[in-house]
Symmetry: C2
Subunit: 365 residues, 2 copies
């Protein structure tokens, strides 16, 4: 597995006339070496876990806090102990490996680090390789789809639990905490991101955070959450009705569900993500409301949001092995919000849903 | 409060001949505007919450997912709705405000964003202002120290709970989950970072993650955790003895405790952090073992790790209002690890401990 991954990475060296590639993105550190960072740990880990790959060497950088972890998690990699800044530690390595052209991840390396390195290693050309690295992780193997599927199965089970658990009078935060407790007790390593649990008009915030707001009869309750299993993520959204269903809101829910269904039916190898987004968008506009301002979907894997994108502003031709969300929504600020989100694995024969919770309107409490 | 903060920020415009400053760091988004991102949410939030401050305007950028949140959390700021990349959205704003010199945060803006913006706005000089922004948040007000103190008090209460809770036979992950459950039920908004709970020889990993490893009699149990309250963080470490105390390990624990005590006693306004680090390091070397490879301490506030640093490689003169950790350790790979960490607020009269849990050896189980 790892050897095939490294071979694909090394192929980039020849294709782009590079002597080495430096990998800084957490998901790539893990994908290529096994080195793991926790959720949000990038804020404090410095550049530990950074990988330097040349034609004939695989090195992992780690400061003293991460040395033992790197030895355990990435045993096949040669460990380089670091104690100072990247622009001090890296130039001697580049010199030793005779690197004069280095590929880097410009989207995750800070401008400060990049420019300090450029200054400290003036003989080395630095090339942004972000776009060229995307294809290496965009098609999931069967094992990877299985891992995402395990995360999705925990999400489905958790959702079924929440349908039984949630009652009017609870706060958004109580529900979010029950959700997290459930997934941690049922096989997830943790959440993929902080859960979104929003009641009533608050559901109009596509990324709002759970608050002390009380869930009341007649509210919608939007729940958007994901879990991580072996590094792979799930992501799903359902919008529940609390005790009763206002007619207008049910109509919007139907429109979102239709839009999602039409989009899923349009998924096929060779189709462009923009077209699928347009199909869902058009269905919602037909309801006489603004469609969602976000994209219809995003790839998912070792990162919650990764390529491909299904949205107006980017053209991705969908291919077998891609795994992504389909999540249309309607948001009426001050009134209500509805979103339905599932994860789809695209196979040669068509789309396969990895999240399988009911998409029909569900009334709780 | 906010006005004084903005005045200090605007003073930088004149001092450095800038027309505007763009703030991208999550902690600065929150400090200056009130806009909040969850733990690790930077991975998916794009540049929502980015602040553009000119001499006479305060603007907050938000894509459709974050528009309503920005209106609620940052009501005093003029909202700019964005839907495309930063290098597309920002140039028209810079033009409208006649910005020809822009301060930015090079340590948090990616090289890709920075260079795309430089290309899209060739008439605008981009200046890295990271170092100049540090003084704005490095001295905490009484209110900020109180918020850090509330987070520390929850940590202390949680630690007392864990001393009663932990028994041999539990796994590291069980303890970590009890810890998280306790702080969430007792007033914390969440963890400041993923807790470190390591038993026996695993404690030699300064940043290891809790595993299914079982806590056994004769182990040490290293617990390093922090919580967030109103955005402000705590951070503390204690190393417990499980059922019995091997003589050699107690000696190392005593050395770490002495080193920490000597360091705390050396804290005073005007002292350099490097000197304090050297005092702790020397005490541990006297024990005939390698001292910790990490720094002795780090500032804490809206970020778990922020300036000042108390370490060999950086010179920070300590001043009243600074709040930071003091955390010496001894790590013997394959054998054991010990660290004791407390948070100190430096006042004109000297250091005040915000975490107050006992530092004597504690035997549990």
């Amino acid at each position: 597995m790892t050897e095939a991954r490294l071979a694909a990475l090394r192929a980039l060296l020849d294709e782009h006339a590079l002597d080495a590639i430096l990998l800084s993105r957490s998901a790539n550190k893990r994908y290529f070496s096994g080195f793991r960072l926790g959720h949000g740990e990038e804020a404090t880990s410095g550049f530990s876990g950074t990988l330097l790959v040349t034609r004939d060497s695989n090195e992992i950088l780690a400061d003293s806090r991460y040395v033992e972890q790197a030895e355990i998690e990435a045993p096949a990699w040669e460990l380089v102990r670091t104690s100072r800044a990247l622009d001090v530690e890296l130039p001697p390595l580049l010199l030793r490996h005779e690197v004069s052209a280095l590929g880097m991840e410009a989207a995750v390396v800070s401008h400060a680090d990049w420019s300090a390195l450029a200054e400290a290693a003036p003989g080395v050309e630095l090339h942004a390789m972000d776009d060229e690295l995307v294809p290496l992780r965009i098609h999931k193997t069967g094992e990877e789809v299985d891992a995402i599927g395990r995360a999705c199965a925990i999400s489905d089970a958790c959702f079924a639990h929440l349908v039984e658990f949630v009652r009017p009078g609870m706060t958004e935060r109580e529900v979010a905490w029950e959700l997290e407790s459930y997934v941690r007790a049922n096989g997830a390593d943790g959440l993929a991101f902080e859960s979104i649990v929003l009641a009533g008009a608050r559901a109009a915030m596509p990324h709002g955070r759970p608050s002390e707001a009380v869930i009341e009869r007649g509210n919608v309750l939007l729940i958007d959450f994901g879990v991580a299993v072996d590094g792979y993520r799930s992501d799903m959204t359902r919008t529940l009705f609390v005790s009763e269903v206002p007619e207008e809101v049910r109509r919007y829910h139907d429109a979102v569900r239709d839009a999602q269904q039409l989009a899923i039916e349009a998924l096929a190898v060779g189709v462009n993500g923009q077209e699928v987004d347009a199909i869902a968008r058009t269905r919602i506009e037909a309801e006489g409301v603004e469609p969602y301002g976000h994209g219809l979907g995003h790839g998912i894997g070792l990162e919650t949001h990764e390529p491909p994108r299904l949205r107006r502003s980017e053209a991705y031709t969908l291919e077998a092995g891609m795994v992504f969300s389909v999540e249309p929504g309607i948001y009426l600020p001050g009134v209500t919000g509805i979103r339905i989100e599932d994860i789809v694995a695209l196979e040669a024969s068509g789309p396969r849903l990895l999240t399988t919770s009911p998409r029909e309107p569900i009334v709780i409490g």
